[in-house]
């Protein structure tokens, strides 16, 4: 569905992505794990068109991706950015409606959002800036789904959230996937990320250093040592 080939990108003189290649299959969840500054967010920005890559290509359903973000969204890819980036001054409902900008009517999406996230319905008239961190993350995900994407990219969905809420979010991601949406997720929380993914990559310093099924990577000695705290148990029994 999505094929990344030799993608390169940089911030000024700092090379953020070096020869990234991978393929994402339709209907799967792929997790990209890695430490802070490994280039994960840059990768997502390049795919969605917020940052221009220096080289390589992003091919979506056999066609090279356009340059403008809004066209990428119209083609069915959305990004739920790191740190949520909700519109704090708009109400919860307005945030969701803006998420449905490319859709004819937001009504169906609103209904689905409120079914998935009853908390958001309670707070729909509230300014989004007043929500808690977990609620803001739910709003960001719900807003991303409003555009009826074929592929949803989630950048650090667990960032700054309490463990219980992280479990909720992971369950929601699985649910979204079961409804047929392909998921590309970037996470520092490797345990959770591998727990729900089909495929996974490990990124270090702008390179993909390991690739395979999530189950394989969860058993990999070096991955366990570097990202799973050396604790072998409990890698696949979550979510």
């Amino acid at each position: 569905m999505l094929k990344i080939e030799n993608l390169q990108a940089s911030y000024g003189k700092i090379q953020a992505l070096r020869d990234i290649s991978f393929e994402l299959n339709e209907g799967e969840i792929m997790s990209i794990i890695g430490a802070n500054g490994a280039g994960k967010s840059t990768l997502m920005k390049c795919i969605i068109g917020l940052q221009r890559p220096d080289g390589g290509s992003v091919i979506y359903r056999g066609r090279p991706m356009g340059k403008s973000t809004y066209k990428t969204v119209q083609n069915g890819i959305v990004l739920v950015p790191e740190g949520r980036w909700i519109f704090p001054a708009l109400t919860v409902e307005e945030n969701l409606k803006l998420g449905a900008y490319i859709v004819k009517s937001p009504d169906e999406g609103l209904k689905r959002s409120f079914r998935m996230f009853p908390k958001l319905e309670e707070r729909k008239k509230q300014r989004a800036g007043t929500l808690s961190g977990g609620e803001q993350q739910m709003l960001a995900i719900a807003r991303g789904l409003m555009a009826n994407p074929k592929l949803i990219m989630l950048d650090e969905p667990s960032l700054g959230l309490a463990p219980l809420i992280i479990n909720d979010i992971m369950n929601i991601i699985k649910e979204i996937n079961q409804q047929g949406v392909t998921v590309l997720m970037v996470e520092q929380n490797a345990k959770k990320a591998l727990g729900i993914a089909h495929q996974a990559c490990v990124m270090e310093q702008g390179r993909i250093v390991k690739r395979g099924s999530a189950a394989q990577l969860a058993q990999d000695e070096s991955v366990i040592a570097a990202y799973l705290g050396g604790n072998k148990g409990g890698t696949t029994d979550h979510g």
């Binding site: 403008s68 959305v78 519109f87 704090p88 307005e94 900008y101």
Partner: protein, 290 residues
């Protein structure tokens, strides 16, 4: 006497508001003050003058014509002057300088192509007073107040009730996030310049009707800028409130104190606001906007 002054003040305030909303709209999206705005006001004033001179003695039709021409001009300025700079992602100061350049070139172009004189609108309309409850009120002030208020209400409705308006409000918070929603942000910016230009054209037509058309008429936008700062740059209700406050205060000071103090009041107000409350009445601190 007081009521008359109040109506005059409100009518001036409503014209300031038309211009101030344009400043605020553009500032809220791009965080810079569009100094080329005054060119749109000036062009609006001249378009109405020529319309009345050459086409028909109908001030509303003339104002409509000004509105369209200035709107299109504003959008062209954005496409030609600002968009290439935005593409390069330059510091906002370059946009500011480009705007100043357009302002200077615009004014002088009129002097070169036409002349530097004052052109009173060739209409009988402006001098007709009407009697209302025994008070004599300039019909022109009532029309200006009425039409301007209507335009402001329409803009508010556009921003509050339509999808484009929602996108504009989102973009005021963050352009990149708005792009992630599938909004063609570039086109949205052009639409906002068009909107600001439409209001500037209307303001220009009304200012010309009141004070005649002349090359530096656009410098009245300074007052609108003060209004927008006073109300809080980037806030549209703030700009409107600031503009009406300034219009009424100026008129009252001119009537009851001294007309030579009128402009000083505006500039002192600007300084006081910047010292005491730089975000203005309803402005948002940048942290809140982000």
């Amino acid at each position: 006497m007081f009521i008359q002054q109040l109506i005059t003040g409100l009518s001036i305030g409503s014209v300031y508001a038309l211009m101030a909303v344009g400043y605020s709209l553009i500032y809220s999206l791009l965080n810079f003050t569009n100094f080329a705005h005054s060119v749109c006001v000036m062009v609006g004033a001249y378009v109405s003058y020529f319309f009345l001179l050459l086409v028909a003695d109908n001030i509303l039709a003339a104002a409509l014509c000004s509105l369209v021409v200035a709107g299109v001009l504003s959008a062209i300025i954005e496409k030609v002057a600002y968009q290439p700079l935005l593409d390069k992602n330059v510091n906002r100061i370059y946009l500011l300088i480009a705007g100043l350049g357009i302002q200077i070139v615009g004014e002088n172009l009129v002097i070169v192509l036409l002349d530097g004189r004052f052109h009173a609108y060739p209409t009988t309309f402006s001098s007709i007073p009407i009697k209302l409850f025994g008070i004599s009120i300039g019909l022109i002030d009532l029309i200006i107040l009425g039409v301007s208020s209507l335009a402001l209400v329409l803009v508010e409705l556009l921003i509050r009730k339509t999808k484009t308006g929602l996108a504009i409000r989102g973009a005021a918070s963050d352009l990149n996030t708005t792009a992630l929603m599938g909004v063609p942000v570039r086109r949205l910016i052009t639409i906002v310049f068009l909107l600001a230009g439409l209001l500037a054209g209307l303001a220009g037509s009304f200012t010309g009707l009141k004070y005649t058309a002349y090359p530096s008429i656009g410098s009245l936008t300074t007052k609108a800028f003060i209004s927008a700062v006073f109300g809080g740059l980037g806030s549209i209700p703030g700009a409107v409130i600031g503009a009406f406050f300034l219009g009424v205060s100026e008129t009252m000071i001119a009537a009851y104190v001294s007309s030579s103090l009128r402009d000083m009041f505006s500039f002192v107000l600007l300084v006081v606001v910047l010292v005491i409350r730089p975000t203005g009445l309803m402005g948002k601190a940048t942290e809140e906007k982000a």
